[in-house]
């Protein structure tokens, strides 16, 4: 028990002291090294995933699986790509990297409510009042964390948006939510190290007194988070969040908006060793005026997506990161083939598309097929679980991995989804 005041202790020493003999002990070696050397060291052999989350439910039949000429098809045309697929004309930059990405066109799911769809696509489970399932970000970072013992940034970062929580895995696997400007609020305390450590000693005492009275896991979780927070405050790895350190042309290429900066931050974070990054692009709930919102109006959504997504794929490829980084593009569901009275499309989960690539998954192909009007899947239907099982395979995570919920219920990773074979050579 920490009952004396450390008088002349480094933060690092203090952290290891606080952590006791647990696995949290951090080698002194990495402290003081520059981020670059650190990154080079981390880059070896680690796998990551970036989820581009399209909040609101994007109309995939206007982006990835067009039906030109069909009454349900909408006005957009297709363009050829570098891959063996055609996509929407408003995605010309992405067309150039489609040899790296594949479209799963036979997604068929059952949740067409935003909250339920978000939960399902993030976890592989439908909401259940008795249990909170961990989101894929929590699960994958949990599985990949061993590959980077020196990581001080939380392993699951969510940029600019709302992911789904860690469920029964506990708050230690919660998404670290940051805004896309790269600033993490309240990072500095503004007092000298020594004094901070002395305050921490007093805090540690009060925390442990409370925990020792057997009050349940919430009091212990608080202490775990406290340690992570202190770790973060003292970490040089926080540099990874500073997208403004990138050359101006790189920033411009990604786009000077929230999503562009988020994608750039995702690349920097993956480079720094973060196993799972989620970047949010909202505004897809297009019940009205969908075609101007997506493609032909001022500052169209597809323009934002196209620029940043293509920049991310290109940049990862150039840096040799794409082979170890899985990219997943998806929303909670898609939108009705029928165009409604206000030129919008409503919620639709029965036939839609998700895009994946990287980490050894095949690029340039379309998996599965929908009917001529886009209302039905004509090949084997795939689900959230299947997408995630495929990502797990790509990342080298065994599909036999199981988690045990707090009630003792065993749960297979990706809810027992099956690997989509076409994605693998």
């Amino acid at each position: 028990m920490m009952n004396s005041i450390p008088s002349d202790m480094s933060r690092r020493h203090f952290m290891s002291h606080l952590a006791g003999a647990s696995a949290m002990t951090i080698p002194a070696l990495t402290f003081g090294h520059s981020l670059r050397t650190h990154a080079a060291e981390l880059k070896k052999n680690h796998k990551s995933a970036i989820l581009l989350w399209m909040s609101g439910g994007p109309s995939t039949m206007d982006i990835w699986d067009l039906k030109p000429g069909a009454p349900t098809g909408g006005p957009f045309r297709t363009i050829r790509t570098k891959g063996d697929v055609e996509i929407c004309e408003h995605m010309p930059l992405t067309a150039n990297v489609m040899d790296k990405l594949s479209i799963i066109r036979s997604m068929s799911t059952r949740e067409a409510d935003h909250m339920r769809g978000r939960y399902y696509m993030h976890t592989g489970y439908v909401p259940n009042p008795n249990i909170e399932h961990p989101s894929y970000g929590a699960v994958l970072s949990h599985e990949l964390i061993d590959q980077r013992a020196n990581l001080e940034i939380p392993p699951f970062v969510s940029v600019g948006g709302g992911s789904v929580g860690p469920g029964f895995l506990g708050m230690a696997w919660a998404p670290f939510v940051v805004s896309s400007n790269g600033q993490v609020r309240n990072l500095d305390m503004g007092i000298e190290d020594k004094r901070l450590m002395q305050r921490m000693a007093a805090l540690d005492m009060i925390e442990k007194n409370f925990i020792s009275q057997n009050r349940g896991s919430a009091s212990e979780d608080h202490m775990k988070i406290l340690k992570k927070t202190l770790n973060l405050m003292t970490s040089e790895q926080m540099e990874a969040f500073k997208v403004t350190k990138e050359p101006k042309e790189v920033q411009d290429r990604y786009g000077n908006d929230g999503f562009g900066r988020g994608c750039l931050m995702a690349r920097r974070l993956v480079e720094a060793g973060v196993p799972f990054v989620e970047v949010d692009l909202g505004g897809w709930d297009n019940h009205a005026n969908i075609f101007t919102t997506l493609g032909t109006g001022m500052n169209p959504k597809l323009g934002i997506l196209d620029r940043s997504m293509s920049a991310l794929v290109e940049d990862l490829e150039t840096r040799g990161l794409l082979q170890d980084t899985a990219i997943i593009w998806m929303g909670e569901f898609s939108r009705t083939p029928r165009i409604n009275g206000t030129t919008g499309r409503d919620h639709w989960a029965r036939s839609w598309s998700v895009v994946v690539g990287g980490a050894g998954m095949k690029g340039g192909i379309a998996v599965g097929k929908t009917s001529a009007d886009g209302t039905a899947v004509e090949t084997e239907p795939y689900t959230s679980q299947d997408v995630m099982a495929s990502v797990c395979k790509a990342l080298g995570i065994s599909l036999e991995t199981t988690f045990t919920s707090k009630s003792g219920r065993p749960m297979k990773i990706a809810n027992g989804g099956k690997v989509i074979k076409e994605l693998f050579a």
């Binding site: 009952n3 004396s4 005041i5 909040s55 609101g56 067409a112 409510d113 935003h114 339920r116 978000r118 009042p129 008795n130 249990i131 948006g161 709302g162 708050m171 919660a174 998404p175 670290f176 939510v177 609020r185 309240n186 990072l187 305390m189 503004g190 002395q198 305050r199 007093a202 805090l203 009060i206 925390e207 007194n209 409370f210 009275q213 057997n214 009050r215 349940g216 896991s217 919430a218 009091s219 979780d221 608080h222 202490m223 988070i225 406290l226 992570k228 927070t229 973060l232 405050m233 949010d280 909202g282 897809w284 709930d285 019940h287 409503d346 919920s405 707090k406 009630s407 003792g408 219920r409």
Partner: protein, 563 residues
């Protein structure tokens, strides 16, 4: 080891039968139940909760300490921790009725009226328009207007059924000061898009505990709700329109007005005397609906407001429904105990069996019998035995852990994080900053600014949102380094800490005062020792040492958790 060991001793546990004696009050006898203050509802709650303990062979934890209970009840009833003076006042009262007296005081005393109204306004604003409602661009909602309505309602002790009626049937303008202002109009004003789908879903959920949003598009997979029901409920909102007034010469909304207009029915050449709506089945066929309540009661089909005001009819039907009774009982129980009788609390369909069905029914009925007086309901729950138990878990009730997927049995108090608003108000009280606060509007503005750092929206038409005030790193960073905490531990001239430091109290009393202020208890010996070491480390600068101690106490799990 704790100084507060409760009186319950487990004597024997045999074949699922539990015997227990109360060592502190032997005169109460081995079969006694907790105090019920001669309030029949409290007595019934205690019996029902105990029955489940007995059925499950569980023994409850001993009672919470007086300080813990006092802190708990201040937080839940008026949304902040007690000041040191308030805590001492309660502890000085040795009468058997002291808890009843305190609850009555917090609910009814003039000096707590503002705190009470503020707390429940915050809670209900978040229920009705969300944490971000009225802060988005181009919104029609006036958060201020919603709050004004609720604050007046709680300050006047408006019966709950009256409040629900007013919210569902409201017409008028949304912003305070506008002509025809009615703050209640803010509840529905942004829920009318997409044929009022949100108005339908939120009204069923908030007031009836029925989750119907999925049935907008298909029959509910888990409960009795069919798609037809959704659209029948939806038909009640079809006379409702939100009118906008723009700031002259701009496209910025100046105000919005909720009105009822004649509804001609959908489809070509609709017949307003029998105003129909259509919706699409999953097989693509169209079906029709008229206003029918969840219990099958039909409303007149006319779309003319002069014939029938559909929302007023709906409001009356909601207020007459026992779903509403159970929903408010479940909500208040959840607020105080941390878990409701169902999870989630607002999903009470037949697919989701309550943990204590008889108690839930009973509380609903009693609420109605007591004229929907929310203060009565609060009193019964706050004075219940379950609410008085320690959060310390004992071997004989360790299995009662809702985090493990067990249904809650309320054998001990479940820890939970303070809400962001409670934390804010508590910091202000703990640091006695309330003595220098500005007027109400100014205080609320500062609080809203501070809260906004934790709020996120998902960018959907439903206005879904989430908070990062959930015990994770951003919240922790705010507690360690944020401006509000920096201010709370400021040592400037005139600050709380400076006043404590220069007071006539002895050094030990000063440390005691800080602990009482943050944690509603005295420091332990080990905590006193470490405080003294901090004083040495600060070279005798007692203000700086007190600053370190107070910072540590405010950052501790014990402060941030409702326990």
């Amino acid at each position: 080891m704790s100084r507060i060991v409760g009186g319950l001793l487990l004597v024997a546990l045999m074949g699922g039968v539990v015997f227990q004696v109360n060592a502190q009050t032997p005169k109460a006898g081995a079969t006694s139940t907790a105090a019920d203050y001669n309030i029949p509802q409290v007595k019934y709650i205690n019996e029902q909760i105990r029955q489940v303990w007995t059925d499950n062979g569980m023994v409850p934890s001993p009672p919470a300490t007086e300080g813990e209970w006092c802190r708990r009840v201040y937080l839940d009833v008026i949304g902040r921790v007690p000041s040191v003076t308030e805590l001492k006042e309660f502890q000085a009262d040795k009468t058997p009725e002291r808890k009843l007296k305190l609850v009555n005081k917090l609910l009814n005393d003039e000096i707590y009226l503002e705190d009470y109204a503020r707390n429940w306004t915050t809670i209900w604003t978040n229920i009705l328009i969300g944490r971000t409602g009225g802060t988005e661009q181009r919104t029609l909602t006036s958060r201020e207007g919603m709050q004004k309505y609720l604050r007046d309602s709680f300050a006047q002790d408006k019966p709950y059924d009256r409040m629900v009626y007013e919210l569902v049937s409201a017409t008028g303008t949304t912003s305070p000061g506008g002509k025809g202002f009615n703050g209640a109009a803010n509840y529905l004003v942004m829920k009318l898009e997409e044929k009022a789908a949100q108005a339908t879903a939120m009204t069923a959920k908030n007031f009836l505990g029925l989750q119907v949003q999925c049935t907008q598009c298909h029959n509910h997979p888990f409960n009795d709700w069919k798609q037809q029901k959704f659209w029948e409920f939806n038909a009640f909102f079809q006379q409702t329109r939100a009118l906008r007034t723009f700031i002259p010469g701009t496209r910025d909304v100046q105000s919005a007005e909720l009105v009822n207009q004649d509804f001609a029915g959908e489809g070509g050449g609709g017949d307003a005397s029998e105003a129909i709506i259509f919706y699409e089945l999953r097989n693509g066929l169209m079906a029709s609906a008229y206003p029918v309540f969840v219990d099958g009661k039909e409303a007149p089909r006319s779309g003319y407001v002069s014939d029938v005001n559909r929302r007023e009819v709906l409001a009356k039907m909601i207020v007459a429904s026992d779903y509403m009774d159970k929903m408010i009982a479940n909500r208040i129980w959840h607020h105080f105990l941390g878990y409701g009788f169902t999870k989630p609390i607002d999903d009470m369909g037949p697919h989701n069996t309550p943990t204590h069905p008889e108690l839930l029914d009973y509380l609903g009925k009693e609420v109605r019998k007591n004229s929907f007086n929310l203060k009565e309901l609060i009193k019964w729950v706050a004075l219940s035995e379950a609410y008085s138990l320690s959060s310390k878990i004992t071997p004989s009730n360790k299995a009662d852990d809702p985090l493990m997927g067990e249904t809650p049995k309320f054998t001990h108090f479940y820890l939970r994080n303070m809400r962001a608003e409670e934390l804010y108000e508590s910091l202000i009280v703990a640091t006695e900053a309330q003595k220098t606060k500005g007027d109400y509007a100014e205080q609320e503005k500062l609080k809203t600014q501070w809260l906004s750092q934790f709020n996120q929206t998902f960018g959907t038409d439903e206005g879904d949102e989430q908070t990062t005030f959930n015990g994770t790193i951003p919240q922790q960073l705010m507690m360690m380094n944020g401006d509000l905490v920096k201010k709370a531990v400021s040592t400037e001239q005139g600050s709380f800490l400076q006043k404590v430091a220069t007071s006539k109290l002895s050094p030990a009393q000063k440390i005691d005062y800080l602990f009482q202020s943050a944690l509603s208890r005295a420091p332990t010996q080990s905590e006193v020792d470490i405080a003294n070491k901090l004083l040495t480390a600060r070279g005798g600068d007692s203000v700086a040492a007190l600053q370190d101690v107070f910072w540590a106490a405010l950052n501790a799990n014990e402060f941030i958790l409702q326990h």
